[in-house]
């Protein structure tokens, strides 16, 4: 592995007696999309704001591109592009103006016109910020994070509030940006977003890292149970249930059979990874033709459940965090 571009070690941050970040450690390699995933209030934003030198840590160390951002936050400002959650701009500044303005702050800025093209904003150059749609604002926000030609871009809750189509096109943009060589730190509470975009990620819960790895690695690391769901019409449902119950009793690869709530005739069969091979011949032999068959895909939500014992509820109430201690 190459020299890490970001090293966070045992980071701690408290607000009064509330511990927001409780010993978080991870490293980010150059060129990867690294995810920081967790429910709201887990300490994700505090973590990245501290590593960007915007907040004082109460303990631990943060090194970004070889600079200690706690001791010397100014050293990384030119190398780091940050897209903040909930930061907006003056309603009357235009897209072109604000990009030119921000470009002027950096020593080696990107070409604002190229960025506008990359983010599909060229036709909106003269539009005022207040008149942009949510998706356009979000794309401008990414453009501003990239206008300094950063080595690392921190993108915080990039797609919150966007419609599904805008989310998907924003994901494509993030991949396009990574293709230009920028390392990306992606903060998100969306499991699907992290799964889709991240090369590696940490899952943070209540200020601690509860899981770390690649999305597929984390999912594969779960227990070996697999589930097949078959759906039958009203005529066959009873007979199918009987046959599958018998299968569960006889077959070593089939552990249990449950009827799912909600959709009538849907039966979930769980067992070893070979459960599918057991179910299909049994149904074929009895000439039970299901209307629908699906295998249940496991996601990062199952990983979260496994490591925390809780169902993933991204919209947990945000604990009261003061903004005190934000650096100028």
């Amino acid at each position: 592995m190459a020299q890490p571009i970001v090293e966070v070690s045992n980071l701690r941050k408290t607000y009064g007696d509330k511990v927001a970040v409780d010993g978080v450690s991870f490293t980010v390699q150059p060129g990867e999309i690294f995810g920081i995933l967790g429910p709201n209030g887990a300490g994700k934003t505090t973590t990245v704001e501290t590593l960007a030198g915007l907040r004082h840590a109460d303990g631990g160390s943060v090194t970004v591109l070889g600079h200690d951002t706690q001791r010397d936050p100014a050293a990384v400002k030119d190398l780091l592009g940050v897209q903040l959650q909930e930061a907006t701009l003056h309603d009357k500044i235009t897209v072109g103006e604000v990009l030119q303005l921000f470009a002027g702050f950096y020593s080696r800025p990107a070409d604002p016109d190229e960025l506008l093209a990359l983010l599909d904003l060229t036709e909106h150059t003269d539009k005022q910020f207040g008149r942009l749609s949510g998706g356009q604002k979000q794309r401008l926000s990414i453009a501003l994070a990239l206008v300094g030609n950063p080595e690392i871009a921190i993108l915080d809750e990039l797609t919150t509030g966007l419609d599904p189509q805008a989310r998907r096109s924003t994901w494509e943009l993030v991949e396009r940006v990574r293709a230009t060589g920028v390392t990306i730190l992606l903060v998100t509470h969306f499991m699907d977003e992290a799964e889709r975009l991240c090369d590696r990620l940490v899952v943070i819960d209540a200020g601690r890292v509860v899981a770390e790895g690649t999305p597929t690695g984390l999912i594969d690391g779960l227990d070996d149970e697999r589930t097949v769901v078959v759906r039958f019409g009203a005529d066959d449902a009873g007979r199918a249930r009987e046959r599958l119950d018998r299968l569960a009793a006889e077959h070593p690869d089939v552990a249990r059979v449950e009827e799912l709530d909600g959709t009538p005739g849907e039966i979930a069969v769980s067992g070893t990874p070979r459960v599918l091979f057991a179910v299909v011949p049994a149904l074929a032999e009895a000439d039970l033709v299901p209307e629908d068959v699906r295998t249940v895909t496991r996601t990062l939500e199952d990983v979260f459940l496994a490591v925390t014992g809780r169902t993933y509820a991204p919209q947990e109430p945000e604990p009261e965090l003061t903004t005190e201690g934000v650096r100028s």
């Binding site: 070889g66 930061a87 003056h90 500044i93 030119q100 702050f105 020593s107 080595e151």
Partner: protein, 268 residues
């Protein structure tokens, strides 16, 4: 620990790179808000014209003062001019600038800026400059209109007038900066500013200018930044002597309020 990851063309930022563009962009964007330039520049002159033309007797020569008094032979509207100038000094600094900065804080613009090599102080500095210039333009406009419309005499001692103006500006901008520093929201900035602005206008003589101000108001007013400015301007314009107390009052307000504003300033 290596620092070679950064390309050699990178440099460590002083925190002010791009300030000139920030200032010009902020000026452009600020002018798109009609109300902000309007209040700072035109409002004092409108008050001057309104009082001059719509209040009876304001343009008639004062004859009921003793013939040896400095007021004899002047017009009431002339004695109102220092108040209008004080008002110009207090308007952009107190009613426009704090609301702008509180809005930027609420919108996260100050925080957004702190992630870039530009210091968020840059945006505060640019609005200090913008509102200072607005105030000077407002003062110039009021002076030109006062001369053209009412033939107000030139100041008897220009030096005293200029010093009073400069100290008045520094005291009022220090006050405006303190409001900007602590107001959590634009609405609260506006509320604090207005509850300071109108009493200050009263003490600066908006309703009882120059010679007709009651002694009590005058005694209180000389200890307020805007009242002291109006009194020092009046002295420099028409009377004799040096308004030492008023000048010292304005200096004291500045040296107390400005460091307080810097210390209390909230960036998010």
């Amino acid at each position: 620990m290596t620092t070679t990851t950064a390309a050699p063309a990178r440099r460590r930022s002083s925190g002010w790179h791009g300030f000139r563009r920030l200032l010009t962009t902020e000026t452009k964007v600020w002018m798109r808000d009609f109300a902000s330039p309007f209040f700072g520049i035109v409002f004092p002159t409108i008050i001057l014209l309104g009082v001059g033309y719509f209040i009876p007797g304001m343009r008639e020569t004062i004859t009921d003062a003793p013939p040896d008094s400095v007021w004899f032979g002047l017009t009431p509207i002339a004695t109102f001019l220092p108040t209008v100038l004080a008002m110009a000094v207090g308007t952009a600094s107190l009613t426009v600038m704090p609301v702008t900065i509180a809005t930027y804080r609420e919108k996260g613009v100050l925080r957004r800026l702190s992630t870039t090599p530009m210091r968020p102080q840059g945006i505060v500095a640019s609005h200090l400059i913008i509102n200072m210039v607005t105030t000077l333009v407002g003062i110039a406009l009021a002076l030109v209109v006062a001369e053209l419309a009412f033939g107000v005499p030139v100041p008897s001692r220009l030096g005293v007038v200029l010093l009073a103006m400069a100290l008045g500006l520094s005291a009022m901008f220090a006050l405006g900066m303190l409001v900007a520093a602590v107001a959590p929201r634009p609405s609260s900035a506006n509320a604090i500013a207005m509850s300071l602005y109108f009493p200050m206008l009263l003490l600066a003589g908006l309703w009882t200018p120059g010679p007709i101000m009651p002694d009590l108001l005058r005694d209180i007013g000389q200890f307020t930044p805007l009242g002291a400015a109006a009194q020092a301007l009046t002295t420099g314009w028409f009377e004799s002597g040096f308004p030492m107390l008023q000048m010292v009052v304005m200096v004291v307000w500045t040296v107390v309020l400005l460091p307080l504003a810097v210390r209390l300033f909230r960036w998010s």
